[in-house]
C-alpha cells in the first residue's frame, strides 16, 4: 500500500494544477522513470503487478482445471484403456523433459536473483539458459509427438487400435509391460486417453511457446540493462509464470506418463 501521508501527495500525486512544465521536471526527478503516473509509488506499482500475475495464474489453474476434471472422470471409468495408453508414452523422454523444465525453473529463479542484485550479465546468461532449456523441452515434445503420429495414435488422424488389440505388434512397449490385449470396446476408449494427452500437453506447449517468445524479448531487453536498474517487476512476474508452467507439467507428467508403471 502506498505511503499514507495525510496530504496524500505521494510521489507525484499532488500536481495541484496540471500545468507548469518545470514543476513536472522537478517532480519527475524524485521518482523512477518507470513509475506509471496512475500509481503513487514504485512499491505500489510492483505490488499491483505481482498481485495481477498471481490472479492471472489462478485463472490458468481454472483453465487447466477443466481438462483435469475430464481426465479424472475418464481415467476412473476406463482405467485399463488409460493404462494401455500411458504405456505407449516414452517415459524416458518424459522424465528427461521433467528435469529439463525443473532445471529451467532453477535458471529462471537465478535470473530473477540476478535482476534483483543488478547483475546484468548474469541475468542475460540465466535467461538464455532458460530459453535454451525451453526449446529443448519443445524439441523433445516434437520427437514424442512424431512418434505418436507414426504409431497412428493421434485421434482424428487414422487413429489405430492395433497396439491395443494386439500389444505384441509393438515390440518395444510389449517388452516393457507385457500388456494383455484389450477388448475392442475398451480399446476404443484409448482414443479418449490420447485426446486428453494431446489436449493437455498441447495446451501446455502453447503456454511454453508463449513463454519462450517472451523470454526472447526479455533477453533482448536485458542486454540493454532494462531489468537491472531497479525495475525487476517484469522479470519477477515472468518468473512466476514460468514456474507455473513448470508445475503444470509436473502434474501432467505424473498423470499421463506414470499410470501403472510398476513392473
Amino acid at each position: 500500500m502506498p505511503d499514507n501521508t495525510v496530504t496524500s501527495k505521494g510521489a507525484l500525486g499532488a500536481a495541484k494544477n496540471a500545468d507548469s512544465a518545470d514543476n513536472a521536471d522537478i517532480l519527475h526527478a524524485d521518482h523512477p522513470p518507470y513509475l506509471r503516473h496512475h500509481f503513487n509509488s514504485a512499491e505500489q506499482q510492483a505490488d499491483a503487478a505481482s498481485f495481477a500475475m498471481w490472479l492471472f495464474l489462478l485463472t490458468e489453474v481454472m483453465f487447466f482445471g477443466g481438462l483435469f476434471t475430464a481426465y479424472l472422470i475418464y481415467r476412473n471409468w476406463y482405467y485399463p484403456a488409460f493404462v494401455a495408453g500411458s504405456h505407449q508414452l516414452n517415459v524416458v523422454w518424459g522424465t528427461t523433459n521433467t528435469f529439463v523444465l525443473i532445471f529451467s525453473s532453477f535458471t529462471m529463479a537465478m535470473g530473477v536473483w540476478c535482476a534483483e542484485t543488478r547483475r546484468r550479465k548474469g541475468l542475460v546468461l540465466c535467461l538464455t539458459l532458460t530459453f535454451i532449456l525451453g526449446l529443448c523441452f519443445l524439441g523433445i515434445k516434437t520427437i514424442e509427438y512424431r512418434e505418436k503420429v507414426e504409431m497412428h495414435h493421434v485421434p482424428g488422424f487414422h487413429y489405430s487400435l492395433q497396439s491395443f488389440l494386439d500389444p505384441a505388434s509393438n515390440p518395444e512397449v510389449f517388452k516393457e509391460y507385457h500388456d494383455k490385449p484389450l477388448a475392442l470396446d475398451m480399446a476404443r476408449h484409448t482414443e479418449i486417453y490420447f485426446s486428453l494427452y494431446f489436449l493437455m500437453t498441447g495446451m501446455h506447449a502453447v503456454h511454453m511457446i508463449i513463454g519462450i517468445g517472451i523470454l526472447a524479448f526479455m533477453i533482448f531487453r536485458a542486454r540493454a540493462g532494462a531489468y537491472t536498474a531497479g525495475h525487476v517487476t517484469f522479470v519477477e512476474n515472468f518468473g512466476l509464470y514460468w514456474h507455473f508452467v513448470d508445475i503444470v507439467w509436473i502434474y501432467l507428467f505424473a498423470l499421463l506418463y506414470l499410470i501403472s508403471r510398476h513392473q
Binding site: 501521508t5 494544477n17 503513487n40 498481485f51 490472479l55 475430464a70 488422424f157 479418449i192
Partner: protein
C-alpha cells in the same frame, strides 16, 4: 417540481463545461483508440455495447414477430433457430456480461476509490479490443450463415449434428471470455491495491463491493467455459470423442463444464447492476443504504454460493437423485442473499427523503421485477416443480425478468444517474421518466404472459406452437413493440442532451461518492487533488458540511 427534486444545477447562464476534461485533453481518433484512460475506454465500450444491444434487440424483434402466429410462416425453421441462437449469444456475451462493469465499472471504480486509473490501463484497452474482435467475429458469423445450436452449444448437437458456424462462434465467445477475464482481473487488483488513504473496505461504496464480487466470478469461472469451447471445437473438427457416447465419451461432461461457468455468469451479469441500485437508491432517498454490511457480504455470498449450484440446469438430465438434492438445497441458499438485498434497499427508503427522478424510477422497476424474477428462480430451484417448468417459456420469462427487468433496468438507471458526470450535461428529465414508464409497461406485457405459457407447457426454442398458445404470444409481441420504443427513446434523447442538455456541474444529485466531488466531465487524472477518505460511505452529514464550506468560500468552477 422544485421541491420534489434533488437536482441542483449551477446557474445556466454562466455555467460552462470545464475546458480541461478527459474528453478535451487530447484530440484525434488515435488518442481514443490507443488510450489508457479508463474513462475513454468506458466510452468506447458504451458505444460498442449499445451497437451490439440493438443487433440483439433486432433479433429479438424477429423472434417475437415469428411467434405472432402458431405456424412457422415468417422465416424458415432453420433461420428461426439461428435467430434465437444469435440473440442469446449476442445479448449474453456481448451485452449483459460487459454492460455495467465495462462501462460504468471502468469509468467509476477508480474514481470511487480515489485513484487515478485502473491498475493496468493497457490491459484495460486490450480488453476492449478483445471484446471488439469477438463481437465483430460474432456479427460476421451471423451474416455469413449464422449458427443454430442455441447459445448453450449442447453436445452432441453442436459437435456432430449441425453444419453451421459453430467454430467461429465458439472462437468469438472464447475471445470475449478473455476480455471479461482481463476486466475482472483489473478490477480486483485495483480495488485491492489502489484505494485512497483512509478508504478502508467498509468505507467503499456498495457499487465497488458488487463489482469486486462479480470480478471474482469473472476471473474464476470464465476459463472453464473457455476450455469447454475448446473441447467442442476439437470434437467437432477431429472427432476426439470426449463427448461422444459411441467412443466412450459423455455428453453430460460438456453440460457440467458449460454450466460451471454459465451459472456464475448470471451473477456476473446481475451483481454490478445491484451495485448501481445501491448507489441510486441511496442518493434518491438521501440515506445511507440500510444494512450496509449485510448488503456488502451478500454480494460476496452470492458470488461464493453461485459457484456451487450449476447442476440445477441439469435436474432432468439423468444426474443422480442425490446430486439433485444437493444442488437444489444450495440453490435455495443462494437465493437468500438476493432477498436480503431487496429488503435492505426497500428499507433504505424508510425515513428517507425520496424523489423520483429517472434513475430512481428504474431502480423501483428493478425492485419489483427482480423480486418476481428471483422468486420464479426459486420455483425452478425446487427440483419437483423444475420438472414441469424447465425447458418451457417459464425459464425464458424467469431469466428475462432478472436480466432485462433486473439488469437492463439497473444499467439504464446507472447510465442516467452518471450521465451528468460522464458528459457534463443533464438528460431531459420529463421524457426520460416517460421512457422509463413505457419500458416498464412494455416489459411486463412482453414477459409476464410467458410465465403462463411456460406453466401451460409451451416449450422454448419453438418456431411453431399449438394454436391455443397464440393469444398469450400475441400479448407478448405487442409488449415487445412497446419495449422497443422504450429502449430507443434513451438513445435519442441522450444523444440530444450532448448538445442541448443543461450543464450539470459537479454534483447535480448532491450525491456522496468521491466521483461527485470533482468536475463533470472529470479531468483525465480524475482529481485535481487526490482525495483522502475521512468519512464513511453514504455520509450525507459529511456532504452537508462540504456544501456549507463550499458556499462560504464561493469557489468558482475550475477551467
Amino acid at each position: 417540481m422544485s421541491t420534489n427534486t434533488i437536482i441542483s444545477l449551477p446557474d445556466q447562464t454562466t455555467a460552462r463545461i470545464p475546458k480541461d476534461n478527459f474528453i478535451t485533453r487530447e484530440n484525434g481518433l488515435l488518442s481514443w483508440l490507443l488510450t489508457g484512460d479508463h474513462k475513454r475506454i468506458a466510452i468506447l465500450y458504451l458505444i460498442s455495447i449499445t451497437f451490439f444491444f440493438f443487433i440483439g434487440g433486432a433479433l429479438a424483434g424477429l423472434i417475437r414477430l415469428e411467434l405472432l402466429t402458431p405456424q412457422t410462416d415468417l422465416m424458415a425453421t432453420d433461420t428461426y433457430n439461428k435467430v434465437f441462437t444469435m440473440h442469446g449469444i449476442i445479448m449474453i456475451f456481448f451485452f449483459l456480461v460487459p454492460s455495467v462493469p465495462a462501462t460504468l465499472g471502468n469509468f467509476f471504480i477508480p474514481m470511487m476509490i480515489g485513484a487515478k486509473d485502473l491498475a493496468l490501463p493497457k490491459i484495460n484497452l486490450l480488453s476492449w479490443y478483445l471484446y471488439m474482435a469477438g463481437g465483430i467475429l460474432a456479427v460476421y458469423t451471423m451474416a455469413s450463415g449464422g449458427v443454430d445450436t442455441g447459445w448453450t452449444f449442447t453436445t452432441p448437437l453442436s459437435t456432430h449434428y449441425v453444419n453451421t458456424n459453430v467454430l467461429t462462434t465458439g472462437l468469438a465467445v472464447f475471445i470475449a471470455g478473455f476480455s471479461s477475464i482481463l476486466t475482472g482481473l483489473n478490477f480486483i487488483v485495483t480495488i485491492h491495491k489502489m484505494r485512497a488513504p483512509g478508504m478502508t473496505w467498509f468505507r467503499l461504496p456498495l457499487f465497488i463491493w458488487a463489482h469486486y464480487a462479480a470480478s471474482i466470478l469473472m476471473v474464476l469461472a470464465t476459463p472453464v467455459v473457455a476450455i469447454a469451447i475448446v473441447l467442442v471445437a476439437l470434437e467437432r473438427t477431429f472427432g476426439i470423442g470426449v463427448f461422444d457416447p459411441t467412443k466412450g465419451g459423455d455428453p453430460l461432461l460438456f453440460q457440467h463444464l458449460f454450466w460451471f461457468y454459465s451459472h456464475p455468469a448470471v451473477y456476473i451479469m446481475i451483481l454490478p447492476g445491484m451495485g448501481v441500485i445501491s448507489e441510486v437508491i441511496s442518493t434518491f432517498s438521501r440515506k445511507r443504504i440500510f444494512g450496509y454490511t449485510a448488503v456488502a457480504f451478500s454480494s460476496v455470498a452470492i458470488a461464493v454460493f453461485g459457484f456451487f449450484v450449476w447442476a440445477h440446469h441439469m435436474f432432468i438430465m439423468g444426474i443422480s437423485n442425490y446430486a439433485v438434492l444437493v444442488f437444489s438445497l444450495l440453490t435455495m441458499l443462494v437465493a437468500v442473499p438476493s432477498a436480503i438485498k431487496i429488503f435492505n434497499w426497500t428499507f433504505t427508503l424508510y425515513k428517507g427523503s425520496i424523489t423520483f427522478e429517472t434513475p430512481m424510477l428504474y431502480a423501483f422497476g428493478f425492485l419489483g421485477l427482480f423480486t418476481i424474477g428471483g422468486m420464479t428462480g426459486v420455483f425452478l430451484g425446487s427440483s419437483g416443480t423444475d420438472i414441469h417448468l424447465t425447458e418451457t417459456y417459464f425459464i425464458v420469462a424467469h431469466f428475462h425478468f432478472v436480466m432485462v427487468g433486473g439488469m437492463l433496468m439497473a444499467f439504464l438507471a446507472g447510465i442516467h444517474f452518471w450521465w451528468p458526470k460522464i458528459t457534463g450535461r443533464m438528460y431531459p428529465e420529463k421524457i426520460s421518466q416517460f421512457a422509463a414508464v413505457v419500458t416498464f409497461i412494455g416489459f411486463n406485457l412482453t414477459f409476464f404472459p410467458q410465465f403462463i405459457l411456460g406453466v401451460l407447457g409451451m416449450p422454448r426454442r419453438y418456431a411453431s406452437y399449438p394454436p391455443e398458445f397464440q393469444v398469450l404470444n400475441v400479448f407478448s409481441t405487442a409488449g415487445a413493440t412497446i419495449l422497443g420504443v422504450g429502449y430507443l427513446m434513451p438513445v435519442l434523447y441522450l444523444i440530444w442532451s450532448l448538445k442541448y442538455g443543461a450543464i450539470a456541474g459537479n454534483n447535480p444529485w448532491q450525491a456522496t461518492g468521491l466521483e461527485w466531488q470533482t468536475q463533470s466531465p472529470p479531468l483525465t487524472e480524475n482529481f485535481a487533488v487526490m482525495p483522502v477518505m475521512d468519512h464513511e460511505a453514504y455520509d450525507y452529514e459529511w456532504l452537508e458540511q462540504q456544501q456549507q464550506a463550499h458556499k462560504e468560500t464561493e469557489a468558482p468552477h475550475a477551467g
